[in-house]
């Protein structure tokens, strides 16, 4: 499997050879920033098209077809249209908080996006407490949503923000707990460490029963945390028109839209990282020929494939289940997911301490 670390190290040495260290670091930082923005934007656009197409196919429609082949340029047209729309601020809005909210939402998704491991040697932020960092920064998004609804000075946005806050903080707990279950199995919080621990087998196979329970809890809680259907209460369109971003227009709204789709990718990426081996290929012990073929597929393809697969499942949820009420959602989270999650951590610890895992 190709190690991208070789390329980056070679490039680093090349730069350090011809210029002082601080300049080389600055240039590399700029390269990383440009790459981040490009990948972020392209991925968000891809996800918008991906969801529109999937939802169309689930409903026996074709989806966007007119702009470009199979409508692939529709998202570019939409984004450009959003960019040239007027930015409206209401009379009574809290101007500062209203402007601050999109920054927080984008920052939360950008920082947790930078933590994801894309391939061998292709990971930007790699703390030894990487998982913890990821959960911490993704929590910033809740503040953005609460501020957006609060500062807009509208009844719909206020209700949407409160619902969003209650729902996201509740489900964040279950997400953190199922991630913690896998940290128990991995014995490390560093993202690269977790990926390398899955070299022989993915965690979902390694940790049998508790890992599968954690995976299911994670999928449900992550769907709720990203405000996607059937848990899209903060923006339930027939009750609250658009929820917390009702009063945002133009690119201001575009930021929430981008961050929402990026969050879908991020939670899928985290699921791929924690349960499906990150960028590690599928290996079956004993089948050397099969393993060699799997090794031949690049690591980036593995990671993206797994993330897109999990996203497909989450989008599938949206078109299969009716929307739940806020009391049903909170009851599900606090009376089922959370106690099961706590119990599951204990179960996983027993499994790990007594070495019953593979």
């Amino acid at each position: 499997m190709f190690d991208f670390g070789i390329v980056t190290r070679w490039f680093d040495q090349l730069l350090c050879g011809i210029m002082p260290g601080w300049l080389a670091t600055t240039i590399e930082g700029v390269i990383i920033a440009v790459a981040l923005i490009l990948v972020y934007a392209v991925l968000a656009l891809f996800y918008i098209l991906y969801e529109r197409k999937l939802c169309a196919w689930f409903q026996c429609r074709l989806g966007p077809m007119r702009v470009g082949r199979w409508g692939w340029m529709q998202v570019f047209a939409d984004m450009f249209k959003i960019l040239i729309k007027e930015l409206i601020k209401l009379r009574n809005t809290d101007k500062f908080l209203f402007e601050l909210a999109p920054y927080l939402v984008i920052l939360a998704s950008m920082l947790s996006f930078a933590v994801l491991p894309w391939g061998r040697g292709l990971q930007i932020i790699d703390f030894n407490i990487g998982v913890f960092f990821m959960i911490a920064v993704s929590g910033l998004g809740v503040i953005g949503i609460l501020l957006a609804g609060w500062a807009s000075d509208s009844k719909y946005t206020l209700v949407g923000a409160l619902r969003g806050g209650a729902q996201m903080i509740s489900c964040e707990l279950s997400v953190a707990m199922s991630i913690m279950t896998m940290v128990v199995l991995a014995g490390t919080m560093s993202i690269s460490g977790i990926v390398y621990a899955q070299e022989d087998a993915w965690f979902i196979f390694k940790g049998h029963v508790p890992a599968i329970i954690a995976f299911i809890i994670y999928l449900i809680a992550a769907t709720a945390e990203t405000n996607r259907g059937p848990f899209d209460l903060p923006e339930a369109e027939h009750e609250l028109t658009a929820g917390y971003h009702t009063e945002y227009s133009g690119i201001h709204f575009g930021f929430f839209y981008l961050a929402e789709y990026l969050n879908l990718f991020i939670v899928s990426g985290i699921a791929a990282l924690m349960f499906l081996g990150g960028w590690m290929p599928l290996h079956i012990p004993g089948c050397d020929g099969f393993n060699m073929v799997m090794d031949w597929i690049p690591s980036v393809i593995w990671f993206l494939g797994k993330a897109f697969f999990i996203s497909f499942i989450i989008i599938w949820f949206k078109w299969s289940f009716p929307r739940v009420r806020i009391d049903q959602l909170l009851a599900m989270e606090w009376k089922y997911l959370m106690p099961i999650g706590l119990f599951n951590i204990a179960l996983m610890t027993v499994v790990v301490v007594y070495g019953w895992h593979f």
């Binding site: 980056t8 190290r9 680093d12 670091t25 590399e28 990383i32 920033a33 923005i37 960019l83 040239i84 729309k85 930015l87 409206i88 209401l90 009379r91 999109p102 920054y103 950008m110 920082l111 930078a114 292709l122 930007i124 932020i125 790699d126 703390f127 998982v131 960092f133 807009s152 000075d153 509208s154 009844k155 206020l158 409160l162 806050g165 209650a166 964040e172 707990l173 953190a176 913690m180 940290v183 128990v184 014995g187 919080m189 560093s190 028109t241 009702t246 009063e247 133009g250 690119i251 930021f255 009391d327 909170l330 959370m338 106690p339 706590l342 204990a346 610890t349 027993v350 790990v352 301490v353």
Partner: protein, 124 residues
Amino acid sequence: MEVSIFGIQSTTLMVVALLTGIGLVAAALIIAWLIAPRSYTVQKMEPYECGVPTRGESMMQFKVGYYLFAILFLMFDVETVFLFPWAAICKSLGPNGLLSVAVFLGVLILGLAYAWRKGALKWA
């Protein structure tokens, strides 16, 4: 220090990602500010309520239930902060670590059971 891509420290890269996020929003806002049209009417500055003028204050009262869930969240969030370091090393702690954390988890579950019993989880 944890070294990541290009041999740069992760803390530096975190700052880079932070600035990238701020830069992305600021750049898009500047572009929109340059090319987007601007107009002013009195009606446009009203909050959107499906065509009907707003009645009373927009900052209305809301259910105290949200607040209760926020308090519960606070308790369990702090708990996850305490559990993460244990989770990372529980393999080497062995059965003793499991036992001591079981006491901690037990107290927390008692707390959840108390809140449940008192009806804090009920959306009435």
